[in-house]
Each structure stands twice: as C-alpha cells, then as structure tokens.
C-alpha cells in the first residue's frame, strides 16, 4: 500500500478577486505596520536641513493614511465578494453556525492544533477552502480590523475635510480622548503582527503536512483534492456537455 500514491484533482478554489484581495491586504498591512511604527517612534535624525525643505515625516504619515484607505476599500470589496463570489468565498464559511461547522472546528483543534491522531480518516473532514476555525479567526480579525479602522479614522477626523473620517468622531468620545484611542490603535498593531505569524505558520504547516498546494493556492488559485471527492470526472462532464450540445443541435434541426 505504501507504494501507491493517491490521485488528486485540481480544484479552482480562490478566484482572481479573492487572490487580489489577499495580496492587497498583505502588502497594505505590511506598509501600515512599518509606517505605523515609524510614526509611533520616529528616528531622530540629526540634520542641517531647514524644516521648510524637508517633509519626510509628512510623507510617511501620508503613506500611512493612503494605504489605510486602500485597505478599507479592499475590505468593502471583500464584503461584496462574500455574496458574489464562489462557495469558498461565501460569507457562510466565516460564521460557524451549522453543526458541520462546529464539528469541523473541533476536528481542526484536535488534529491540526493539538496534533492528535486522526482516527476516522474521513475525507470530508479536510476542508477544500478555509477550514471553519481559520475562517472564524478571519472573521474575528476583521472585527479587530474594524476597530483599527474606527480608531484610525477618528484620529484623523479632526484634521480631515472629508465626511467619511468625520463619521468616526464618536469613537474618541467613546474611549474618552485621543490618547486612549491612539493607544488602542497601537496595541492592535501588535495583535495583527502576532496574527500574521500564526497565519503564515499554519499555511506552511498545512502545505508541509498535506502537500496539496495550501500556500501556492493563493497565487495560482488551485488546490488539490483526492479524486474520490469529485462526483463526476472531467471526462464525464465534458461528455455530458457534448451530449447537451448535440441534443441542442438536434433540437435546432427539428425546429427548422
């Protein structure tokens, strides 16, 4: 037995918009973390330049704000795609409200996190898209992201002339002043950094252990699943399509 390998089928999991969303999030978050830490603790550079002729710190802040708006727009798009995208992008993945979802969370905790023996070896336990625990963690992180957005926008609301950040002035009043708001904004950055570590590790973990393209799926869009899990083979589907076409042609002929 040990010498036979399983047959795998290539499945299109992450559509182009999902992948674009993912990489915009990645690079925007990296830029925001880097510029954020520069803003929080800028290097004190000794210089002879007059203040009039230099604006580097202003540019760092501008980069931070522009990138933040890109990330916000990106999230708006992803919310739309949760309704428009394929089954793996759908909002239902992110809320474990079904029995199946809750069972899957415990499965993932048992087998992937606490590394216990998978006794059942049921193929349906292996998620094709997100597993329910991962998806739920993305939902939690997106809530923290909303808090990050709300605190960030409330901090620039007073110097902004746009209505959008002005919608968030209540956040300052809620937390009792800018100093606390800024503080929450700072702490959440660390939370996101810890999450990035866990996220990247678990992707590599799955890729290493399952070898079905977990990491590269976010580039190619494809993952591999055992062929037993596919109801109809590609050949069968092509055959069906051909028959359909043939029937259609016949119908056309009989009509004319």
């Amino acid at each position: 037995m040990a010498t036979t390998t399983y047959n795998y089928k290539r499945v299109y999991v992450w559509e182009v918009p999902v992948r674009i969303f993912h990489w915009i999030t990645t690079f925007a978050t990296l830029i925001l973390i880097i510029t954020g830490f520069i803003i929080a603790n800028p290097p004190a550079i000794t210089t002879n330049v007059e203040a009039t002729n230099s604006y580097w710190f202003g540019w760092v802040r501008a980069t931070h704000f522009i990138t933040a708006y890109v990330l916000i727009a990106n999230l708006f798009f992803r919310v739309y795609w949760a309704f428009a995208g394929n089954q793996f992008a759908n909002w239902r993945n992110f809320i474990p409200y079904t029995k199946k979802g809750i069972k899957n969370i415990f499965y993932v905790l048992r087998v992937d996190i606490f590394l216990m023996e998978d006794e059942e070896h049921k193929l349906s336990n292996i998620s094709v898209g997100h597993n329910y625990l991962a998806a739920f963690s993305y939902l939690i992180m997106s809530l923290f992201f909303l808090l990050q957005v709300a605190t960030g926008l409330s901090l620039i609301a007073d110097t902004s002339t746009w209505w959008f950040p002005k919608m968030f002035t209540w956040v300052t009043a809620l937390f009792g002043g800018d100093i606390v708001v800024r503080y929450i904004h700072h702490i959440l950055t660390w939370l996101f950094m810890a999450f990035i570590v866990v996220h990247v590790y678990l992707v590599l973990f799955h890729d290493y252990l399952e070898a079905r393209g977990e990491a590269s799926a976010m580039i190619s869009g494809f993952k591999f699943i055992r062929s037993e899990r596919i109801e109809k083979t590609e050949e069968e589907l092509i055959e069906e399509a051909r028959k359909q076409m043939w029937r259609g042609k016949k119908k056309e002929e009989s009509e004319s």
Binding site: A2, A44, A51, M116, D158, T169, D178, Y183, W190
Partner: protein, 375 residues
Amino acid sequence: MGTLQKKKSKTYYESLMDKGHSRRDFMKFATFMTAYMGLESSMIGQVVKAMETKKRIPVIWEHFQECTGCTESFLRSDHPLVADLILDNISLDYSNTLMAGAGHNVEEAKHQSMKDNYGKYILIVEGAIPTKDDGVYCTIAGRTAEDILKESAAGAAAIITFGSCSAWGGVQAAHPNPTGSVPVDIIIKDKPIIKVPGCPPIAEVMTGVVMHYAIFGTIPELDNMGRPKQFYGKRVHDSCYRRPHFDAGQFAKSFDSQEAKNGYCLYKLGCRGPVTYNACGSMEWNNGLSYPIKSGYPCIGCSEDKFWDNGPFVERLVNIPGMGIEATADKVGKIAVGAAVGSAVVHAVATNIAKRKEIKNRSQRGKANEENIKA
C-alpha cells in the same frame, strides 16, 4: 453683596462706563472678545450691541475638591477688562476664593441670589466632587460638595465647569481615586454643561465661554465630549508653531540635545500635543507670551481626560493600566509576537513527531514515484 444686587440692573456697557473706562477701551475689548470667541470680525458690531443692551448675568462660582489654580489662571488674564468684566460686571454673587465676605452672611447672600435669579444664573464649578463615604472629603459650611452642587445646579440656566477636575475628575480622580471623585456631569444630568477643561484652562478661554453665554444667551457649539468647539476644536499639535519640524521629521532626542536647542519638535519627548484638544497653540498664555512647548517642554495633555493616569509625561507611549509600572504596549506586544513565533516553532517540531507516520508514509510513496518516472 448688597451693592452687587443694585448693579445687576445695568448693562455691561453701563457698568464699564461707571468704572471709568473709556468708549475706546470698551470697543477694544469687544473686538478682542470677538476674536477670542472665534467669531468673524463682521460680528464685532453684534457683540458691541449685545454688551450695550444686555443685562448682566448673575454668576455663582462653586469651589469643590481643587487647588484654586483655575481661579489663579483666571485672575491673570492678559486683558485688564477680562477679569474686571467677569469679577465686577458679571455680578459674581458667590465665590469662595474671590469674595470679600465670609461666614453665614455670604451663605445667606448666595441663597438669596439663587432665589432671586432662579433659572437665570450661570453656575461655574471648579473642582471635582468626592462621592466616597457620603462625600465627607469635601465639605463647605458643614455640607458636602455633592449636596451643595445639587442645590446650586437646581436653579442654574447652564453649568460651566472650569478646569479638568470638574470636567473629567482631574488629579483627584486619578488612580486609585481614594475619595471617589467624579466630574460634574456624573451628578448633574438635567442641565446643559459646558466643559472648559485644562489644568488650569487659559484665562481668555474661560472668559470667552462666559461671555458667549452672556452675549448670545445660548451655550456655544460643543463637541461630542461637551467642550466648546471654538476653543477645543483643534489639537495643540494642529496649531503648534513647531509643526513644520514634525512634518520634516526633525525631533529632539533629549532635553539637553542640540536638536532641543534648535527648537525641534518635542514629539519623541512625549509631547501630548497630537492628542490634546486645547487652544494653547493659538492663544498662548500670559498675554500671548508663551506656552509649554514654546518654552521647550512637551505638552502633558492637561485638558484631556485622565491625563494624570496616562503617564509618564515625557514618553510617547503610556503604560498599560493595571500591568505594573513599566509595561508599555511595545513590551507586551514584543512578548506576544515572540510567544506566537515560539509556539509556531514548538508546534512545527511537535508536528514532525506526532505525525511522523503520515509524513514517512507519504515520502515513501513519493520516492517510489520518483524512481518510476518514465524516461
């Protein structure tokens, strides 16, 4: 007190003239106040008109748990007419610190004034109100601050809180708040409250707020934390004269550095300007002479809620409350990210042990395939 009762029927203009000020002084003052209240110069005429025709408003000024620093600041307002106007002409009927009288007589006079002007007077509150142990930590004439406040507020048209103590709780309410101090708006819920925070507030701001009410008869536009927008609408940072250094990334590293001497931005020395709403940058103190940042010291954010707890003052990042003295967010964050990396490494090693059969099995199969690749 009797003389004050008589003065009450006069307008602001009349009482100023009675004191021997010239029309020119009056016009200068009106212009000055218009500018301070953040109004356009076309409004000067209206301010003059209001001061010529409006009757003076009686003021009750209560002092509770505080240092009287707000009064001190107020007395040092730069324009001679500012203090004059409030102290003499707004008919200050009761103020523990400023009134000449004492004892039962003034208490009686206060009650008389409150009765006569019921629903019309402005109540100014300076200082926080202790609530622990039935409020015994601040008693005046045998009554607790809370009791006095409730009584004075009942007939007030509006309440103006002078200073951070009556606006937020201030130093008394700082951790661990031994006397259970609370700001005015925790106790009084049914009156319009104008918060004029600061430790102390700028004298011209205090006058400006009172004058706004006196002249227009309405409370000024407030932000969502109850502060008048014309004075607290901007952060100290947004009107700071050192702002170009901030944008240019020129920061002072320490108080004795060459950068500090050059007048660079004090951001890295913990300046709270970027998170503090106040008019220090535009109005400044002591006749527009200076303000902390101009004197080379970072803003400590004295007009912000819990400014005393959000220390240390000369560092950018404040300590996390309840996590020891030196627990800044960065320390906790580094530990959290370190723990994440550490557990990832441990998990990776554990994976290779726990799933060794699976990994071995798979690699055998893969190797078998490798040997069988068609040429």
